[in-house]
Amino acid sequence: MKPRLTLRWIVFAIAAFAMNFPVLATLITAFKPPGEVSRNPSLWIKAPTLENFATVLTVSDRLNVYHYLWNSSVAALIGALLPMIVAFPLAWAMVRRGTGRGVLFPLVVNLRALPLIIFAIPLYMMYSVIGLLDTRLGLGLILAVVNLPLALLMLVNAVAEIPAEIEEAAYMDGARVPRLLIKVVLPLCRPALITTFVFGFITAWNEFLFGLILTTRDAVPMTVGASFFFATSGGGVQWGTAAAVMVVAALPPLVLGLVMYRRISGSMVAGAVKG
């Protein structure tokens, strides 16, 4: 039994190293002094430094990392909260009364499998007419669409797990539906709400395509902003700085995701299997 377990650890180590290699290499490069990167591309740092992070966090006339972080935060908050708000009442009605089970549910859940690019062009045209182009709200709205299928799925599952007797007791006391939803159902769904929020926030933060198409300057999110660091300053890419900006961009979802990895992985599986 023992040697077999050791072999499993070795396989785990190889898989973990191979799959996380780009992240690891980027993290290491971010701490190399600018001059060292091209002389020493190995995974060993000779003179560790925070210089690259200082460069990234310094506002220049072209690049402003705080601005990108703020845009991403606002857009991802809208993108994570809005689908929960619109899906929650429907999820309850679906479970308790079968509202929209036949058409609405499959329609929303299948949105997930569609290539998002097909909505990007008409949205661009619509946004340019109503003034939502290059705004955090405009970006947040489409991120909310991206998150809607999983939000609905997870809230439907959560409501279905609440025993109907609890709600009936509240009904007997004369509570109306809105009150029932807010006072009884909402608190009972809290774990699912937290998971949905975290998952939605990570998904929205990591989105790139809509940020690329729908924003140009004022609402550029972090993922798109990070790519600007690769196209900067005529003399080729500053790899140390570029690595540092990737660390900054990847950190918020990574921290959230690792703290809550059990919930995240659970919801990924649920989303895949129940769809």
Binding site: L5, P115, S128, F208
Partner: protein
């Protein structure tokens, strides 16, 4: 049902329906209108009906077919690789994952990193002068391939996509594997069944529905790929990594061919819709 109740139900569904109509319904109508019209950025507000011209333009463009073929191949190959690797890892590492939950967290890190960031990270890792991969290949073997050159770029993006999303397949299979009752394995062990036979005769058949789901999800995601390829190589040398999503993006924003891009998007939507319905019919046919 009382009339009061159906009004109430409509109110409960209202927010979601209105939201969908506003953010997706209206753009869908727009894309249909413009898809069948003569359009440029100058004549955006006055579309001229032009029938199927945009569709003829798109389907007459060899790049469109090249992109469709790329997406199909990319989706199929990456889905198979990810599911094969993910299944093997899940079954083999299941005992480890059961005893040490944190190992799962380490393995799913790539999924939490934005695909766009992953593409940029590969640009660093594979860079001729600054990248550790060519560096080690040179110092160990005195030779390193040109990863992003025309000969290798397809393999490179396939490997990058596979390494990032194998964790997803791994996670699905791990859950499926752990939900197989332990007594079944113990009973097999008592009967003297070898682990290899246990996998083929008991575990794999029980996990088959998950295999289909995982293959389908990974194929769809590979088929519509954009972020990581775009940030790693863009359209690729000679357009060799132009996926269908990249094709639509480039025709729209780079070349300003709105009508053609929309026609391609509508064709893509129709394909995805058909694929989805077929897959769901098949999956439903399996589940009793």
């Amino acid at each position: 049902m009382t009339p009061g109740r159906s009004v109430e139900n409509a109110l409960l569904a209202g927010p979601l329906v209105l939201f969908l109509l506003a953010v997706l319904g209206f753009p869908t109508v727009l894309s249909l209108v413009y898809g069948f019209s003569e359009t440029g950025f100058q004549t955006l507000t006055a579309p001229q009906f032009s029938g199927l011209k945009n569709f003829r333009d798109a389907t007459a463009d060899p790049t469109f077919w090249q992109a469709a073929w790329f997406s199909l191949r990319f989706g199929a190959i990456t889905a198979l690789l990810q599911c094969g690797l993910g299944l093997a890892l899940a079954v083999y590492l299941a005992p480890l994952a059961r005893a040490h939950g944190w190992t799962v967290a380490i393995l799913i890190i790539p999924m939490i990193v934005a695909p766009a960031m992953m593409g940029l990270m590969y640009r660093l890792v594979l860079h001729e002068f600054a990248g550790p991969v060519p560096h080690y290949l040179y110092s160990w073997f005195g030779w390193s391939p040109s990863f992003l050159g025309p000969a290798n770029v397809f393999k490179t993006v396939v490997v990058a996509e596979t390494l990032q999303w194998t964790p997803f397949a791994f996670l699905l299979f791990l859950t499926a594997c752990q939900s197989i009752p332990q007594d079944l394995r113990e009973a097999a062990a008592v009967d003297g069944t070898r682990p290899w036979r246990l996998f083929w005769k008991i575990e794999l058949p029980l996990m088959m529905p998950t295999v289909f789901v995982a293959l389908f999800i990974r194929f769809i995601d590979g088929f519509r790929v954009f972020d990581n390829i775009y940030t790693l190589v863009g359209a690729g040398p000679g357009g060799s990594t132009t996926s269908i999503s990249i094709y639509i993006y480039e025709s729209f924003l780079r070349r300003g061919e709105i009508g053609k891009a929309l026609a391609a998007a509508i064709l893509l939507f129709a394909t995805a819709f058909v694929l989805l319905s077929v897959a769901q019919r098949l999956l439903r046919g399996r589940a009793p």
